[in-house]
Point group: C2
Chain length 558, copies 2
């Protein structure tokens, strides 16, 4: 039941044909025919080379998905009109994988290479008859191609088929970084949730799991050298990530072409460290919280203290050893200067150092970054570290812009590489209402809800010059979890997070040269959403099924 | 990561004590002590009378919940501070149930009585030592008392306990109607989803399942006399409610003290009937849809046609036989007059009848209501049937107000009884973004998200005179399912729908005489939410767990 007032209503509905090759994200180059082709019951995927075990596993999963998706075409009749074409259609017996390099590194090894040297490209040919071929320069590229291959097929009765053979795809990502960020500190997520999310991410070729693992509310990460952090800071002894859990998550991600970017947010968002190191934290639990932090509980590392700097360096050194990624995030958002101004300890230390707070912040950040660089890591920070504070982080630092997409230009103007993480497009928590207890008329700070359409309309190069374009590494959806946990993880993330996955894989244009377009995209997004559900990820319905079966009919008509 | 600007910030956080008796909804009268009491390992619930089988089942479920909730107190330490009190605490061996009437009707029989004769009252005494007693005039009252009893207990290690003994509760609902509405037409929900939802409803003493079973998008209900409606109108042969399913749902609901109020929305929202009876429906699928309906597809019953009236009467007659409730809803919202103005068939029929469209609407509705009354049913309608159209429905008709809570007074002024179902407080779908495909900047029509706090602040008697108060039967949360299906049912409904359950059970005041208050309520809502999750209903987290353990600390400070 809805009340809608339309200013302008045209007389004719534009009905878009459903794309049969319901791929998500769209490949960069795609040619399709109009012949039916079924998968042979003895269909196999073969490699001419010795495949590393994670590629072998990926092949097995691909076959499982193809057999178990049982996805009927999203058209009226659900594919019954295809039945006659399938009777005498040729069948595909084999997909042959070819690797264009002599060394078959594992997918996991390829997935953690620096962004500029990661090769995710592939070519996939599904002929009208004969065997199919998938070629890539890396096992990572082959994995991306397998992901695409698994999305080509529909089911009708016993047949697994396409009606768009022959199919030729040449593909590689428009941007090297395509991520998803999860906050596991406001509320805890079991490893099974994270693994399921990694699976889903891989289905839409997201390649980075940005793990905002700890925050002021809890410290679930067990750090070998600092066991007290999680002993005192986890919500419970059961709500922790053990070293084995971390290893498991990194391995699971790697096998799915996903790099794990760990973040320990500093110096803000660290109240929970006061539970184990009360002397390290300024204004811990200070009231009223809003004077000292953007959300309760207040508490920030005493950044001017040499022992705190040393602790933080050791912490990141430990993380650098634990996480094989080329990147580590030191955070750096929402530093509350009033907290430091009111902290006698910090003020005494500043006087002793002969520094003001900004100078001390710079020292703190650069010392920590120096530790990471010594370990071969490239630091990642939130935008405040280059926009709001004169920290002077080195130009190889990667900057995540979150407050507003309008701030990207300022970061790029300073020569930094950016990852788009704007709250105005990609924050999944917006629109879920106020989580502060007594705010009856309140709503989410970043209202309204960020729809998939809004995310899909994002232009990664807006306001930038052509010369600045290479500084854009990519982007990501993000889930802050004040109001989320296991109960709604899938439904708040999917399929929306698939929108940025396509924005940053496919780039500005469809393979036919036209700009990306929500009307073209929606039928494909319905398709991938149904595959998600079939594979056990509770992605939400975007429309009534009636609309999903009738592309374009449930449009706002202009 | 949030940006919050606070206009006024006070210096001291108001910290509310966590209510140990974490009951939801709050009883009307509640006295608690401060002594520890554990449940004996041989604890049993006994009846001195011959309990009907659904009460026996309810007793079994109560024992299961008590054993399996394993709910630790939501305080820092999770109840570890209680351990010393539990060592020598007396233990409770027995809860004795007493029925104050000679005839032990089943819960299901009591649950479908007319609202004015339904008795849900009970008295529950849990002494500091000795046996506990639950008394009621009906098995339905006993069931409500069992529900309350199951919420009294926390777990710590092996103990199941309260630290608030003795406990004395005298309870009955402030309003007789406390509902939840589910739309199973925009997207389909399997019977298991509906049963799980009925369980959850019963945990917070909701007593009416308002089943908006069909709509313009699909007709999943198999109607014995009109099998073609679902054969042609269901999304698929699997996505139907068979007569056995309906029987199963009614029985499952009844055993849980829930009446099933079936709605077949007429004469609007009926486009799908055109699939089986194309001659019965005006402007079926007409484009642009916005000229003919509030959402696609357009289509309304040709209400002036004698054969349509006859069909609709037969349909409701069949429903009246199938559903034992005293109430049936004929809908009546969002009638699009342009659809009828442009329909040559309707215009010809009006001329033949010598009626204008409003007169024909009146005839249509009154004829259908007459059929229902002949079957002993009281009709229920949406507000348009008394506010927007001069239909002249009889004064015993129950009116649901949905467009705005501001419209309640107009309905009551005409002498009708109302059920509060206002979109501005109780619509669960608001805030989830635009579901129309191509509306990039759009958002939900009833933005913003309706928080639990907003729902909880609802005043059922606002703008009414004291004399009008008895016309308010109660109210409900509602889920329209353009963007919902199995994937997010639990998370979009719970725990928000528990807010209206308490508004209409507990009424304006807490047992201590103070007005209901979100700060007092939140710790209890966290509690019941954790029980929901433990019992398999994926209710969402309302706050970081850090906040849930520290009542009042995550408040917006005034």
């Amino acid at each position: 039941m809805v009340k809608i007032t339309l200013a302008v209503v045209a007389l004719v509905a534009l009905v878009y044909p459903s794309s049969v090759a319901a791929l998500w994200p769209l490949p960069r180059s795609l040619q399709t025919g109009s012949q039916a082709l079924t998968l042979s019951s003895s269909f196999s995927i073969d490699t001419a080379f010795t495949a590393p075990s994670d590629l072998q596993d990926a092949i097995s999963r691909t076959l499982e998905y193809i057999n178990q998706d049982k996805h009927k075409r999203l058209v009226v009749g659900r594919g019954s009109a295809d039945a006659s074409k399938l009777k005498d259609a040729p069948s595909l017996n084999k997909l042959n994988l070819h690797l264009g390099s002599k060394d078959a590194l594992s997918i996991a090894q390829e997935a953690i290479k620096p962004l500029e040297s990661r090769d995710e490209s592939y070519t996939l040919i599904v002929p009208a008859s004969g065997n199919a071929t998938l070629c890539a320069n890396s096992t990572l590229g082959l994995f991306r191609g397998l992901t695409t291959f698994s999305q080509l097929w529909y089911s009708f009765e016993d047949a697994v088929y396409t009606i768009e053979a022959p199919i030729a795809i040449t593909d590689k990502p428009a941007y090297p970084y395509r991520g998803f960020m999860l906050d596991t500190a406001r509320n805890f997520f079991p490893v099974t949730d994270i693994k399921r999310t990694l699976d889903a991410m891989s289905w839409v070729k997201i390649n980075t799991f940005h793990w905002h693992v700890v925050d002021s509310q809890s410290f679930p990460l067990q750090v070998a050298d600092f066991p007290e952090l999680s002993e005192k800071g986890a919500y419970s002894p059961a709500q922790v990530y053990t070293p084995e859990d971390v290893k498991d998550i990194i391995a699971y991600a790697g096998e799915r072409g996903i790099d794990v970017l760990i973040e320990v947010d500093t110096p803000g968002h660290t109240a929970i460290i006061s539970e184990s190191h009360s002397d390290f934290v300024a204004c811990a639990g200070a009231a009223p919280w809003a004077d000292f932090a953007n959300e309760p509980p207040a508490g920030q590392l005493r950044l001017a203290s040499p022992s705190v700097i040393s602790f933080t360096q050791s912490l990141f050194s430990s993380l650098a050893d634990q996480f094989p990624s080329s990147y580590v995030s030191t955070g750096g958002d929402e530093i509350n200067l009033n907290c430091y101004a009111k902290d006698a300890d910090t003020q005494a230390q500043l006087r002793k150092n002969g520094q003001n707070i900004e100078q001390a912040l710079s020292t703190f950040v650069l010392e920590v970054h120096s530790t990471l660089k010594d370990k071969g890591k490239t630091p990642v920070v939130w935008e405040e570290m280059v926009i709001d504070h004169p920290v002077g982080v080195s130009n190889d630092t990667i900057v995540m812009v979150w407050i507003s997409s309008a701030n990207v230009r300022a970061v790029v103007d300073k020569g930094y590489r950016v990852v788009h993480a704007p709250s105005d497009y990609f924050y999944l928590d917006c629109g879920a209402g106020e989580w502060l207890g007594n705010d009856i008329a309140g709503n989410s700070w970043c209202d309204p809800f960020k729809t998939w359409q809004k995310a899909y309309s994002f232009d990664p190069l807006a306001n930038l010059t052509a010369a600045q374009a290479p500084l854009v590494l990519g982007g990501q959806h993000l889930l802050w979890t004040e109001q989320s946990d296991s109960s709604n993880l899938d439904s708040i993330v999917w399929p929306r997070a698939a929108a940025s996955a396509e924005v940053f894989w496919t780039g500005a244009s469809q393979p036919n040269g036209k700009p990306r377009d929500v009307d073209e995209a929606l039928p494909r997004l319905h398709d991938i959403r149904f595959r998600f559900v079939q594979r056990g990820v509770k992605a939400i319905a975007l429309q009534p099924l009636w609309c999903a079966l009738r592309p374009g009919v449930c449009d706002l008509q202009a």
